[in-house]
């Protein structure tokens, strides 16, 4: 089985990078906060103008720099502020996710979802799910760049 599976690394706190689109998901995170919904603190949010702004390099760089998980979230299909940014992005995401899993990056390290501005609850539960999964996988070492 997978050598990296390890949910009990002492002292380890997962680091999850969340790329959120400015118009929906970032606002969704906001409304989760306003609604005082509890969700794990492992997430570092990076706000981007649109899911379509995500260059696969952003995601690879996050893993290289030691992220244990990456989440990308944009507006629901049809709701993109830029009309179709999320539709174009969806194709790229599908390929990237497949490719990373193909080379043995564990399923669950990289997640994509849609969260709208009003879906605070959905945002909180997305973070729950993502964090749970990453916790179960343990620290991500495969793509991490190590310096001497």
């Amino acid at each position: 089985m997978d050598g990296e599976m390890n949910d009990r690394v002492p002292g380890w706190e997962p680091r999850i990078v969340a790329f959120l689109c400015n118009w929906c998901s970032y606002a969704g995170a906001d409304s989760a906060g306003v609604g005082r919904l509890q969700y794990p603190a492992a997430v570092r949010v990076i706000r981007v103008p649109c899911a379509g702004r995500i260059n696969p390099f952003f995601i690879l760089s996050a893993f290289q720099k030691g992220a244990d998980g990456v989440l990308v979230s944009g507006c629901h299909p049809g709701d993109c502020h830029y009309i179709s940014g999320n539709y174009s992005a969806r194709r790229k995401f599908a390929l990237l996710k497949g490719l990373l899993e193909h080379i043995g990056i564990e399923e669950g390290r990289l997640q994509f979802t849609w969260v709208s501005a009003s879906e605070g609850e959905r945002f909180a539960s997305v973070i729950d799910t993502v964090t749970e999964k990453v916790l179960a996988l343990g620290p991500a070492r495969r793509m991490e760049k190590r310096y001497t």
């Binding site: 720099k65 030691g66 760049k145 310096y147 001497t148």
Partner: protein
């Protein structure tokens, strides 16, 4: 002991492993390379030459020059190269390349301590060739299948035994310490042995002197354009070459660790000379290919008295478009050389 039996080599290397990092030809995923061995029997003795050259033993593709950590202002210099090393089984061409690298990196105006430290703690035991490959042209650049230049000890392959020739004072010390007494003194490699007839078999495509003279006049020759036309501009020839040594210095920083690394670079890449302003003195493949040839066969001879090529043939055999450097040399040397 004048000779070492072929089946004794494994034991000899095992003996060395206690005190030295030993590099020898090994197969990694089907490809022959020089790598560190953990036991003497790993070394492959039946081979023409390795896919990559052994230069990485002295100049790794990536090495950290300097580093610092956190708030500590101290900088680590990483000049210590650790255990002394033995390179076993280098071919004479590759050993000769070290001689060239020494001139550029160790013996020049500024001593490159990283290279020099490794070089000074490396002992080179090369094995003369019995069977040249169809891409070999060592004789063109001044070497030969039994050249001992750059080696400390040259083993002459007589089939079931090797004849040991000591080629340096360090080689002599080493031979004495390990019972490889050289009794071939005064007898050059190849005299009266099976290898003697090999040298002429590797026919030089050009005369180096005539080539150099021709290149002196050929900077603006339209031939460069046609010769380089099929070149893809990749770095295979540079990176497989035992004599290419151009490098880049790149810094990186993450999680409070700052490093300055040296990495191999290639004159065939456009970013090698591209300036921040966008100006590039070598803007196309024509200038970059010309630089490669001129550097090796013209400038190096002026600056170091030796061509920056040892004729190992790796660039010939591995070029994806079969741009054969021997033909390029012949195009200049042959045409103008008075042949």
């Amino acid at each position: 002991m004048r000779t070492i039996a072929r089946n004794e080599i494994g034991r000899l290397l095992d003996g060395l492993l206690a005190g030295y990092a030993v590099y020898a030809p090994v197969r990694r995923k089907g490809i022959l390379v020089f790598d560190r061995i953990r036991s003497g029997d790993e070394a492959i003795l039946d081979y023409a030459n390795t896919r990559t050259s052994p230069k990485h033993v002295l100049m790794p593709q990536m090495e950290t020059l300097l580093s610092s950590c956190g708030e500590d202002p101290g900088v680590s210099e990483h000049t210590d190269c650790g255990k002394p090393a033995v390179l076993f089984g280098a071919r004479p061409c590759d050993a000769r390349a070290f001689l060239f690298l020494d001139k550029v990196l160790r013996d020049g105006q500024s001593r490159d301590v990283y290279y020099a430290n490794r070089r000074d703690s490396l002992l080179v035991i090369s094995i003369g060739c019995t069977q040249p490959r169809e891409t070999c042209f060592c004789t063109t650049t001044g070497g030969g299948p039994l050249s001992a230049e750059g080696s400390d000890i040259l083993l002459e392959d007589l089939g079931s035994v090797y004849l040991a020739h000591v080629a340096s004072s360090r080689g002599a010390e080493f031979a004495a310490a390990h019972g490889l007494l050289d009794t071939c003194e005064g007898e050059p490699p190849g005299s009266g042995t099976v290898n003697g007839g090999l040298q002429p078999a590797i026919e030089p495509p050009v005369d180096l002197g005539l080539l150099k003279a021709a290149l002196d006049r050929s900077f603006d020759d339209p031939l460069w354009l046609t010769l380089a036309e099929k070149c893809l501009g990749c770095g295979i020839c540079s990176y497989l070459c035992p004599a290419c040594h151009c490098f880049d210095i790149v810094d990186e920083e993450a999680a409070g660790v700052r490093v300055r690394n040296r990495v191999w670079d290639s004159c065939q890449f456009s970013c090698f000379t591209a300036q921040a302003s966008g100006f590039n003195p070598r803007p196309t493949g024509r200038e970059r290919y010309r630089q490669r040839i001129m550097h090796k066969f013209n400038y190096c001879i002026d600056n170091h008295g030796m061509a920056g090529c040892v004729g190992c043939g790796r660039c010939v055999s591995e070029c994806p478009v079969n741009l054969d450097m021997r033909q390029v040399l012949a195009a200049f040397g042959g045409r103008r050389g008075g042949n």
